[in-house]
């Protein structure tokens, strides 16, 4: 390559988009051409510095609310003339779209006092108190003023009433599936003769039968009140019967009549998978008895009294401290991101998760404060709920504890998280015979250096720029360091169970792939087998990835 051509690639070099086919020639030219090298180094320096300029004043905290309000206002305020007739002529897909577009324009109807619109009957308006009966075989869809949709099973009968703080659907008979839009200050109620369901924003089913009623949740959460009993909270997949003699039915089967059954079932599986509760409705759900969450340092953070199971951990967001006694879980100064990793990951609790590549890749999405804001969390563990030793919990060997933590995140942070299994590339770490070897280059091979590795004051794996010190530590502790450099999961298949001491000198991949300095030294892939007899081989594996769809700062305790 000539200087001109090389400079054409500078932009790609900066964004690490330089194609591998050009890399070698690019590097060769730079080695030989001081002028290009100087320019590239200067540009790289600017590039790196540019990266640390802060984005400026943060958006106001109510921006999110404002955006949602603007979107809703827009949706309601659309002029009706845009509902062109030609929509109907353009085949099924457009017809379906038009039905939904129609619901968008419902705002026009409301001013004239209708309570709802019966979509299936040519958008017939339905007033308060009017009885609505689904006669058509396929069922009917009733759209309420706020956009909530009530799918009625054929033969279902209901009427709408004004409630003090919203709307009440009085279900006289039959089944409905309600897809409620998120309610702001108002409530949507569904009432049968023996049960009242109140809703915040969710998809759920109510069946009013002769012998009693049945309520089941597909997505979100509802509260169910039967006369003379305490209110019950229902999560996806859970159901309540008002009469114990009623036949038990799978929620999945109960919604099979719906036109949207496939969507509902998918939704149900998705929400049930992420909902804290994996129990059937008859068992008690796993949850902490009492929880307190506040911004770190705001309250009476206990830093002194460490219980039997406490341990101080230095995370990348300062230091946090975990306490696990038989009845109490407490952690001070941790991010929600870390809590999510503990709740959904599989690793030990006292891990520096934010520095670990795999856990970074494992959980994505969510607002920025998720990774920056620090929280003090304290929770009471129900008596006898956990028979784990604190050691087990800290090692991550405590599924029930994780479920409690999941429930806490769902209720207090409104966490909505979605999982997905992906095939991706990973690396397998294997050991040659006799590995790992402790070999040191001549300049390092001093008695002091060996002594520090073999008999360290503090055992462990210490990564430094371009070097890893393994000081009388297990291979498992090396894995995250390797993952961090190569940015892929590493599976330990060395079969090595003991503690080892060795030393690796290498060039970080980020630098090799264009982090700014010119290329020197071997990568981990080369350094590991040459220096200690460990090998990284590429493989395919499945990884479960979690995406945070929603998280909100917790309200007052």
């Amino acid at each position: 390559m000539r200087c001109n051509e090389v400079r054409n690639h500078f932009a790609e070099y900066l964004t690490e988009e330089l194609e591998s086919s050009s890399q070698e020639e690019f590097a060769r030219h730079l080695k030989e051409c001081p002028a290009c090298r100087a320019e590239l180094e200067e540009l790289t320096d600017f590039w790196v510095k540019l990266g640390s300029i802060p984005p400026g004043e943060p958006a106001s905290s109510d921006l999110e609310v404002r955006l949602r309000a603007a979107a809703e206002a827009y949706e309601r305020g659309l002029p009706q003339t845009r509902r062109g007739r030609r929509f109907w002529k353009q085949g099924l897909a457009l017809a379906a779209a038009a039905v939904i577009v129609l619901t968008v324009f419902l705002g026009m109807w409301w001013r004239s006092g209708a309570a709802a619109v019966l979509e299936s009957e040519g958008s017939r308006r339905v007033g308060y108190g009017e009885a609505v009966r689904a006669n058509t075989g396929a069922g009917s869809v009733l759209v309420l003023r706020d956009g909530s949709r009530v799918e009625m099973r054929s033969q279902a009968e209901l009427s709408l009433e004004r409630a003090d703080d919203g709307v009440r659907i009085r279900l006289n008979q039959g089944g409905v599936i309600v897809n409620a839009v998120k309610q702001q200050n108002r409530h949507l109620y569904v009432q049968t003769k023996d049960v009242t369901v109140s809703v915040v924003g969710t998809v759920f089913l109510v069946n009013a039968e002769q012998e009693g009623s049945r309520v089941a949740v597909i997505e979100g959460e509802v509260r169910v009140q039967q006369p003379g009993t305490a209110e019950v909270r229902l999560l996806p997949g859970e159901q309540v019967k008002t009469n114990p003699l009623m036949e038990p039915q799978l929620v999945k089967e109960e919604i099979s009549w719906s036109k949207n059954a496939v969507t509902h079932i998918a939704l149900l599986e998705q929400s049930a998978a992420v909902s804290a509760s994996r129990q059937s409705s008859t068992e008690t759900r796993l949850a902490f008895e009492e929880t307190s969450i506040r911004p770190a340092g705001a309250g009476t953070a206990v830093t002194g009294g460490r219980g039997a199971g406490s341990s101080a951990v230095s995370g990348c967001n300062g230091s946090y401290q975990i306490q696990i006694d038989p009845r109490r879980f407490a952690v001070f100064g941790t991010t929600l991101h870390n809590l999510v990793i503990w709740a959904y990951g599989t690793g030990p609790l006292n891990y520096q998760d934010c520095k670990n590549v795999t856990s970074q890749n494992l959980i994505s999405g969510g607002p920025d404060w998720l990774r920056s804001d620090l929280w003090d969390v304290q929770a009471l563990i129900p008596e006898g709920a956990l028979n784990y030793t604190p050691e087990q919990v800290k090692k991550g060997d405590a599924p029930k504890f994780r479920m409690m933590l999941q429930a806490l995140l769902a209720t207090r942070f409104q966490l909505l998280i979605r999982s997905e299994t992906k095939e991706g590339s990973a690396y397998v770490l294997t050991a040659d015979k006799g590995a790992p070897r402790l070999t040191l280059s001549a300049d390092l091979d001093t008695p002091q250096f060996r002594e520090e590795l073999v008999n360290p004051k503090q055992p462990g794996v210490v990564p430094e720029r371009g070097a890893i010190f393994v000081k009388n530590a297990p291979i498992a502790d090396l894995i995250p360091i390797l993952e961090q450099d190569i940015g892929k999961p590493v599976l330990d298949q060395t079969g090595l169970k003991s503690q080892y001491s060795f030393f690796i000198e290498y060039t970080p991949l980020s630098r090799i792939n264009g982090g700014g300095t010119l290329f020197t030294g071997p990568s981990l892939f080369k350094a590991l087998p040459e220096q200690v007899g460990l090998r990284l081989t590429e493989t395919k594996t499945t990884v479960t990835i979690w995406t945070i769809e929603r998280a909100e700062k917790p309200s007052e305790n």
Binding site: E12, S60, A273, R418, A426, L491
Partner: protein
């Protein structure tokens, strides 16, 4: 810490069969859903892009109020023009396209003047001399340089450096060849360096960090 779980694993935390059934919804799938009328899916797109879109405008304009208005305008326009979305377009590119148009309209409507021709205007967050000392002088100068360089090059650097857009996507956004984008980025970096070096020899002009403001004659 095995983060990697085979599908057959009995580990109840990784609901293999569920996660297999539910595929990841891409931006494009979500936007198609919005187009088809499931406007509730907009919520997820809000969540994914609210922050980065705000930062894009904020870095570009240096003005919080304008940036917030613009983010709102973009999301409303996405709803408004959802019928025109084609799944063959990357959502992000489409969104930034809307964003750039929204900004052009905003400048016209509010008689705003792009930063490079504006007189001195400071918002709370502009760089003040005392902050310069705190921050590391060089960094503050670089920030000034970024705000003082040409509008189009600044936008390009913001897209590529902070919004981390790929060259092909920027090419689609700007309607030029990817090769052009790369050479423009190279030139933009050189311009930044020049502005920076000028500022270093004459740091007093750094106080004139510019942000988009309503021009005095409105």
């Amino acid at each position: 810490m095995p983060r990697v779980v085979p599908i057959s694993s009995g580990d109840h935390l990784h609901q293999g069969k569920y996660s297999l059934a539910m595929s990841m919804q891409t931006d494009e799938e979500l936007m198609v859903a919005v187009r088809e009328g499931r406007t509730g899916q907009m919520e997820i797109l809000f969540g994914r892009y609210r922050q980065s879109l705000y930062e894009f405008f904020s870095r570009l304009t240096g003005n919080r109020v304008a940036s917030e208005d613009l983010v709102q305008e973009v999301f409303v326009r996405i709803l408004k023009y959802r019928g025109t979305y084609r799944e063959t377009n990357r959502f992000v590119t489409w969104m930034y396209q809307i964003g750039r148009n929204a900004r052009a309209d905003y400048l016209r409507k509010h008689r705003l003047v792009p930063a490079e021709v504006t007189a001195i205007a400071r918002s709370e967050h502009d760089i003040t001399p005392s902050r310069q000392l705190e921050e590391n002088e060089e960094m503050a100068l670089l920030h000034c340089a970024l705000m003082q360089m040409s509008e189009s090059n600044r936008e390009l650097l913001i897209l590529v450096r902070y919004q981390e857009m790929k060259y092909v996507d920027i090419a689609e956004l700007l309607g030029i060849e990817a090769g052009m984008v790369k050479s423009r980025v190279h030139r933009a970096m050189k311009e930044l360096r020049e502005v920076f070096l000028n500022l270093r020899s004459n740091p007093s002009s750094c106080g004139a960090t510019k942000s988009e403001t309503i021009s005095p004659n409105t």
